[in-house]
């Protein structure tokens, strides 16, 4: 059945060739490639191939960093690697080719799925059945955590084998009740969860000194590891905050699932503004006690699934029965640099060092947005005439202080 095929979820818009970059006199063909989550049947190859190879990854400030990357052999590398999607129990055959000069491997953390070390130039084929539905991190497990931190990591999303109202093969009673209540109870007006309202957020981080040592053949003391760049799906700051594949966007009452994976070394503390989120699963353990929190821990290699309910932000002052478009119509009509419509809020890690790039440049680190585009009754916030510009005085130039 076609819908049950493992899908390569690489958005075509990322495939444009860019102008060649010239670096140190060496002309480099610039292939912009980034893997993203997808939830439509793209009809990719049945038995995916992954290559392991080199790449230079550009950080948000332009710094080019040597990396090892998974990729599609025809399309080139990406960090993180392509999102692999499968259905629980589905038989898969993954072919991995190592183009590097050192041994590498492929493994899905938390499962027995792993290749043997793959010699330079060799190819290994791994046949396995997809594990229970959930969010998995695939990595090169060798020299852990070095090869993972060099860029060899990606997300594998496993969907329930049967059409289910939850993202899991065997939801706990609490998770089943929560998903059953969405769109059917007074406290969750709106719609049930739809599986295409899902996002994958893979957290990564880069310490320039590690790839620098590796590329020179030197050793690096992992006790010294201190990342200077922080990414979601390979993007930082403003880029991650305006990436349509990353940001959840919808009207009130359109709950979204967010699958968070931490491929880095830091303990992160993601914080959602404007809605608390339900913690559904942690490292593929579907939770018995589904807590509603605004900040939570995602440690190194951990995976945490949360439900962003897209509730009306509860603490907006005024009558909760009045549609937001009427209650806060002046704010929705304002322009403060940009229009205040739709209602946009951040999700960022509260271990605030992760909000930096190159030691500063706040907030160009691990941050993204989510956006509320309309009310519960299906009406989008109106395209009214925008009120005048801010009145507060001068634009602030950081360089002048």
């Amino acid at each position: 059945m076609h819908g049950h095929d493992l899908q390569w979820c690489i958005s075509s818009k990322e495939w444009s060739r860019r102008d060649a970059l010239t670096l140190g006199g060496v002309g480099l063909a610039t292939l912009s490639l980034r893997s993203v989550a997808c939830h439509a049947a793209l009809g990719g190859p049945l038995d995916p191939e992954l290559s392991i190879g080199e790449a230079l990854v550009e950080m948000i400030d332009g710094e080019l960093v040597y990396a090892w990357a998974f990729g599609d052999p025809r399309r080139g590398p990406s960090v993180p690697g392509p999102v692999l999607e499968a259905f629980a129990g589905q038989e898969l055959q993954v072919t991995v080719t190592n183009t590097l000069s050192t041994p590498h491997a492929f493994a899905v953390l938390g499962t027995p799925i792993a290749t043997k070390p793959i010699a330079p130039g060799a190819t290994e084929t791994l046949t396995f059945r997809a594990p229970p539905a959930g969010t998995y991190l695939y990595v090169d497990p060798l020299s852990a955590p070095v090869n993972r931190l060099m860029g060899l990591h990606g997300a594998m999303v496993v969907l329930p084998e049967e059409r289910a109202g939850t993202p899991y093969s065997a939801p706990t009673p609490a998770v089943a009740r929560l998903f059953g209540d969405l769109g059917t109870t007074e406290h969750f007006p709106g719609e049930p969860w739809q599986s295409d309202r899902s996002r994958v957020w893979l957290f990564g981080s880069v310490d320039l000194r590690l790839p620098d040592s590796i590329s020179r053949g030197a050793t690096f003391d992992m006790n010294e590891f201190l990342p200077g760049y922080f990414t979601i799906n390979g993007l930082s700051g403003a880029f991650a905050s305006h990436d349509p594949e990353t940001i959840p966007k919808g009207r009130l009452g359109e709950p979204h699932l967010v699958r968070i994976l931490n491929a880095g070394m830091a303990a992160h503390s993601p914080h959602f503004h404007a809605n608390h989120v339900y913690v559904l699963a942690r490292n593929n353990v579907v939770q018995e006690n589904v807590v509603l929190v605004d900040s939570f821990t995602v440690g190194p290699t951990e995976r945490v699934d949360v439900l962003l309910p897209f509730m009306r932000p509860p603490d907006v002052a005024g009558d909760p029965q009045t549609p937001l478009r009427d209650l806060v119509k002046h704010e929705l009509g304002m322009r403060l640099g940009t229009p205040q419509r739709p209602l946009a809020y951040p999700m960022h890690c509260h271990m605030e060092m992760s909000q930096t790039a190159a030691g500063g440049n706040y907030p160009q680190g691990l941050v993204t947005h989510w956006e509320i585009t309309g009310d519960l009754d299906g009406v989008d916030f109106p395209e009214s005439e925008l009120e005048s510009q801010s009145t507060g005085g001068d634009r602030h130039d950081h360089s002048s202080h």
Partner: protein
């Protein structure tokens, strides 16, 4: 040899203004755009300088958020607690005395202009009246959200407690037969934080990107050489009380708890730092709420349940997480408690600070 380059995405031209606002928010001042008659008015100014005295005799420069009415009464760190009742409509007049700032009411969920995040609204110029309705009793906090790694570390935060309508002394918790309320006798606040003194010599705008409206992500506009990714604390504190380096035990009554046997203690815990904090108490504790959401309480809490942490069972919080615990000691004695601070990347234990719960 050609190595493929994974380039930074090009900035979509239609997003240029949004990319600019991301790093250089506009300033704004004045009234709330959609005002509702308030039941409570509060005021806060920032920033105010504060010297935090250390047990060793030296001090660390801090920044605090101040209630302007308290300017003569003595300054405090953490910034003065805000205490509200469920249902309060709050007007909070925030003045930026130096530079521009914001206040984010962490866990409170209003519109973006009232949420205090510059890149989604503005930074406060002279002053602005934030507005929100505190609809759910619980433990929250407030902090500046500009150049946040630095401004939060410098001390620009305070607790924000929303009591149930009955007021202080009652907490919302799963208890259907009592209308989901429980009385408590003693309330305590454990708010561990850490200080990297190198950061406390920096300026408000340290290591920020240059504002460049024409190209907001111009590579040359990024700062270099910053240290805001490199947190090396050497002062460890709880609720504003620094622990002595030689004997890191805090008996200050702002932290150490004292109660009578048979009394109920409500302990509100917030990680206001940048380490992974692990708490261990020598008493059984019941976890009744997280992040201002009571466990088990309908309608939104019914997918969860309160749970008991047996004595000496550690629990771990990362930055901004809040737990509410109920303790009901019956046997007099002095029960030790501790918080261990672990580096966020290396996982190394940086310090262990001890305190106590004294049961009379």
């Amino acid at each position: 040899m050609t190595i493929p380059v994974i380039s930074r995405m090009p900035m979509p031209t239609e997003e240029s203004a949004a990319f600019f606002k991301h790093v250089c928010p506009p300033t704004f001042a004045g009234d709330n755009p959609d005002p509702v008659e308030p039941t409570v008015r509060i005021a806060r100014d920032l920033v105010v300088d504060f010297a935090l005295a250390l047990p060793e005799g030296d001090s660390v420069p801090m920044w605090i958020i101040e209630d302007p009415e308290d300017a003569r009464l003595g300054r405090q760190f953490p910034s003065k607690l805000i205490r509200l009742r469920e249902g309060d409509v709050v007007h909070a007049k925030v003045g930026a005395k130096k530079n521009t700032h914001t206040i984010h009411w962490h866990g409170i969920e209003p519109t973006p202009m009232n949420d205090g995040v510059g890149k989604h609204s503005f930074e406060v110029g002279a002053s602005f009246v934030y507005q929100f309705c505190a609809r759910q009793a619980g433990t929250y906090f407030y902090h500046c959200h500009k150049n946040t790694p630095l401004h939060f570390e410098m001390g620009l935060y305070g607790l924000l407690i929303v009591d149930p309508p009955e007021g202080q002394g009652v907490v919302t918790r799963l208890a259907p037969e009592q209308g989901h309320r429980e009385h408590y006798d003693v309330e305590a606040f454990w708010v561990p934080d850490e200080i990297d003194r190198r950061w406390h010599e920096l300026g408000h705008e340290a290591f920020m990107q240059k504002c460049d409206e024409a190209d907001p992500v111009r590579r040359d506009d990024f700062s270099h050489g910053g240290i805001l990714n490199d947190f090396r604390p050497d002062v460890f504190l709880v609720t504003g009380v620094p622990a002595a380096r030689r004997d890191p035990k805090i008996v200050d009554p702002r932290v150490a708890v004292s109660a009578h046997a048979g009394q109920t203690i409500l302990l509100r815990v917030l990680n206001a730092g940048y380490t992974v904090q692990r708490f261990t108490l020598d008493l059984d504790a019941e976890v009744i709420a997280m992040d201002g959401r009571p466990l088990g309480v309908p309608p939104y809490g019914v997918y969860s349940s309160p749970f008991t942490l047996p004595a000496r069972t550690p629990f771990q919080l990362t930055s901004a997480m809040r737990w509410e615990l109920l303790l009901k000691p019956t046997v007099p004695g002095t029960y030790p408690a501790q918080v261990e601070y672990f580096h966020w990347v290396t996982g190394k234990r940086l310090a262990t600070v001890r305190t106590q719960i004294k049961v009379l």
